[in-house]
Subunit: 336 residues, 2 copies
């Protein structure tokens, strides 16, 4: 318990303390993102440094390792892949941010380079989970309280899920404080789910209590890091998390869900980022099918709300409320 | 489990659906509060209808009763006093709002009338808990994991606590979305604590599992109601909760904490409202002692932050982050 509280506070502390120096440093390097592709009427955001996600990364890394609950004895089969998926995805985002912001090449990584990197990470992790004794190929279906064995299909399905979630997270990151707030709530939900599973492992057929403790510590570290980061990212933002941060958070969420065998809960806890992706896909296909009509005024859907006249803070508040309610439902769903 | 999800969703739904009609009705009755005592530079809020808290009251009442988990068999010793404390405190707030807004008498209830009402409710409830077999005079000390028997002193101490918490809640309600957001997070924390205690009653020496389920359902209903209410109360607010809402939320929080024998956790979960009261008290005594000097630019402390140049939404985000972190610590503290 004290370890977990430690992870939460240390992570928030690291993000808060590294914030000012990191922002000053990023500004000095002229890490201002070119904003024109980011949404309606955000020209005034030109020059805000991206890659602020690095402060979350620092918080999560330091505090997951410092408060690793398994004391060299176990849980490494969870923490290493968890950090690997988060930070490898972050590196892809970082490369993109770096090319755009420092090298000033507007195109960043090519879409294929990005996808190739994501496929490698997601596929590697899916194979790992498939063969990991504490995870395996069956996933839990909450509400029903049963397991569903996907067999060998686990690998392709989870690979696609991994890519989808990371990109969803990436697409949602478009308004000050939006993804940070949603992730703070969502990570807290994962932490609570881990606590319930630590108390009563049979609730979700968990084979490795140490592994659950690791996921809980990681989730608390993420929640702390998000709250710390929001200090600088809330409207009006002093820094953006960039692809660096959004792909870190997306990777962490999907890895946690898969290790706990609860990827189904992403549909609730990660509902709003998923909605962002789905809105983009719907918009694109509808546009092609109808040769030029649009469903939303602009996609991802948070820009649609903006065009409808909602302010950034109103949209953040709305998304946070929806995520809170869905997260509570997710927590309740694992009880029988 | 389905009952609890039902309570959460029904309550949010009731608050959302009654919102527009209630706001229109309150406006028609000229329920605009006179704003000049509410803080710096909020003259433009003149005319915003107060007593929007009634939509939360509707949500909480309907859904706690509709999804009362104990099926006529038990738990009534918890739900009746819980609703009584919340709604009697609400009535005091309502009387004050009504006199100010409808009767246009700026002074509202006299301070003594208010305090007298609060004392009666808090003392009555403390006596009830003292004699209730499932509660009693001993409170749980989290972290230590031990009980502390206050004996007969339970009654005066808890009476003072009840009054203090309700007034803290009342004092914090001064910025758009502030208390609603803090309460949404805080109620979620109480709900999670109830879930943990339902799974492992021994964690806090709980004698009445039905009672815990009742508190959990009430907390989820409150969280849902807050999220629904925030739809209309977030910046820029279309309605204020008024004393009606703030005393309802304060009463609900202190009653939940006392029934679960965890009043100590109010120091974490209800930290920011408590800070609001403490800042007022410090300011007043310091002013008297020094014959005119001030610690804060203005009290309660959220107005101090406003004068420092933070926007309303920034302050709400900060309070929400602090409450989230402290609430997670509160949840962790009941584990041993």
């Amino acid at each position: 318990m004290y370890r977990m509280i430690g992870a939460l506070l240390l992570s928030a502390g690291v993000a808060l303390l590294t914030g000012p120096k990191l922002i000053a440093y990023l500004k000095k390097l002229h890490f201002g993102q070119t904003i024109y592709e980011l949404g309606p009427a955000h020209q005034q955001k030109q020059g805000t440094p991206v890659m602020g996600g690095l402060m979350m990364a620092a918080g999560i890394l330091v505090s997951s390792l410092a408060f690793h609950p398994a004391r060299w004895s176990g849980g490494w089969d969870f923490i290493i892949p968890l950090l690997a998926v988060s930070f490898l995805n972050m590196c892809i985002g970082f490369a993109d941010d770096y090319i755009k912001a420092v090298k000033k090449r507007h195109d960043g990584l090519s879409p294929w380079q990005k996808i190739a990197g994501q496929v490698i990470v997601a596929a590697g992790f899916s194979v790992y989970c498939y063969f990991c004794p504490a995870v395996g190929s069956s996933i839990r279906i909450p509400f029903a309280g049963t397991d569903w064995d996907l067999g060998i299909f686990y690998i392709p399905v989870m690979t696609l899920l991994g890519i989808f979630i990371v990109n969803s997270s990436n697409l949602q990151d478009g308004l000050d404080g939006l993804l940070g707030t949603v992730s703070a709530v969502g990570s807290s939900a994962w932490a609570v789910i881990c606590l319930l599973l630590m108390l009563v492992p049979s609730l979700a057929g968990i084979a490795d209590p140490d592994g659950v403790a690791v996921c809980g510590t990681f989730a608390l570290a993420t929640a702390g890091a998000c709250v710390g980061f929001l200090r600088y990212n809330r409207y009006p933002a002093k820094t953006f998390m960039g692809d660096t941060g959004s792909m870190l958070l997306g990777g962490g969420a999907v890895a946690t869900a898969m290790l706990l065998r609860l990827p189904v809960l992403l549909a609730l806890i990660f509902f709003t980022p998923v909605m962002s992706s789905v809105s983009v896909i719907l918009q694109r296909y509808y546009f092609k099918l109808t040769h030029g009509k649009r469903i939303f005024l602009m996609s991802p859907i948070h820009h649609h709300f903006e065009k409808k006249g909602y302010s950034e803070t109103q949209i953040v508040s709305m998304y946070a409320g929806v995520t809170l309610i869905l997260s509570l439902i997710a927590v309740l769903s694992i009880l029988k």
